[in-house]
């Protein structure tokens, strides 16, 4: 199954989005929250994100959802730091809606490309109908 990594500057934000995504995908799914810095402060850490990617991968690749600014740049750095051969795609999507769409698709056994596509569609969903 495609793994999901949720990257936020805030530990609480990443964990909260993780909770919502797990509710959709189920406990046994490979979803990893990487929030904040090692000491719990606000920020992003490329090495912690890299470790999260390794943890989330079971061979089918990983879709990564990140928040703003250094969330994206640290995630790109994390991919460069990978020693393992893991296919990782950063979805161009809002982190919460994207993570939930990705979780649903991944839990249905969709391939990485499909999961990313679905996550990115979250950009276009109207909330007010």
């Amino acid at each position: 199954m495609v793994g999901i990594v949720i990257v936020s500057h805030s530990k609480k934000a990443a964990e909260g989005i993780y909770e919502l995504a797990v509710q959709m995908a189920g406990e046994d799914h490979k979803i990893v929250a990487v929030g904040g810095m090692e000491d719990g402060s606000i920020g992003t850490d490329a090495f912690r994100i890299r470790d999260g990617i390794v943890k989330a991968d079971d061979g089918d690749g990983v879709v990564l959802l990140a928040d703003l600014g250094s969330g994206i740049m640290s995630s790109q750095t994390a991919i460069d730091l990978l020693e393992e051969d893991i296919e990782v795609v950063i979805a161009d999507a809002p982190i919460l809606e994207g993570a939930i769409s990705a979780a649903v698709q991944a839990s249905m056994g969709a391939a990485l490309k499909e999961v990313v596509k679905e996550a990115e569609l979250a950009n276009k969903i109207s909330k007010l109908g």
């Binding site: 500057h9 810095m37 090692e38 402060s41 606000i42 920020g43 992003t44 850490d45 490329a46 090495f47 912690r48 703003l68 600014g69 250094s70 740049m73 640290s74 790109q76 750095t77 730091l81």
Partner: protein
């Protein structure tokens, strides 16, 4: 006894830490106000993490970059982290540096920052200090200037670059949300790059 490269790093770190509030104030004007705090935290960790006896400048710069990647927290983490790691690859195995090496280092650093930040000069970023400094270095080397002359020219060009960032609007990073309102403020990242260069120049002058 700490190696020269560690002492130089210490000079850079101390300059960044001394300017913590200044950098944070600049960032509060046009960004999220964490640049000084983040960079000071990063360099405090760097000075603890980098082995003081390590002779290989590549190893020292790589450790510096890796520490910045994981300890800075903001966008300057991956940017400076990548810059130091690219510089490390450019000088791998070397235990001394000549002024000509500055050229290779600058090229690696600029390439790394452009790749990571998807930025070009003129967008109110670190590149607006570093690229003019590189151009001044190339010109100074062609004119046959010595190391001190080259480093002086680099700092002067970077200073002008920082001044130039006051006249342009940001299109990258948090400051880009401000658009036109970012004009009139100098870029914090360009400023910390200038501070880094000045620290290197001062270190070289003291150790000539």
């Amino acid at each position: 006894m700490a190696t020269k490269v560690y002492q130089c790093l210490q000079k850079i770190g101390e300059a960044i830490i001394e300017n913590k509030d200044f950098l944070t104030d600049l960032d509060r004007e046009i960004g999220d106000g964490d640049h000084g705090v983040n960079m000071a935290r990063g360099f405090t960790e760097v000075l603890n993490a980098v082995p003081q006896e390590e002779e290989d400048i590549g190893v020292v710069l790589k450790k510096t970059g890796m520490t910045l990647l994981s300890k800075v927290g903001g966008a300057s983490g991956p940017l400076y982290g990548t810059a130091y790691m690219k510089a490390a690859s450019a000088v791998q195995g070397k235990t001394t540096l000549e002024i000509q090496d500055a050229r290779t280092i600058c090229e690696a650093v600029i390439g790394g920052i452009k790749m990571r930040g998807k930025a070009e000069p003129g967008e109110k970023t670190m590149l607006d200090a570093i690229v003019p400094a590189y151009d001044a270095l190339v010109k100074s080397l062609e004119e046959g200037k010595d190391a001190a002359g080259c480093l002086d020219a680099m700092c002067q060009a970077a200073e002008k670059g920082v001044e130039y960032t006051k006249t342009i609007k940001a299109t990258k990073g948090r400051a880009s949300y401000l658009g036109e309102r970012s004009i009139g403020h100098q870029d914090p990242g360009a400023t910390s790059s200038l501070i880094t260069l000045q620290a290197i120049r001062d270190f070289a002058a003291e150790n000539a």
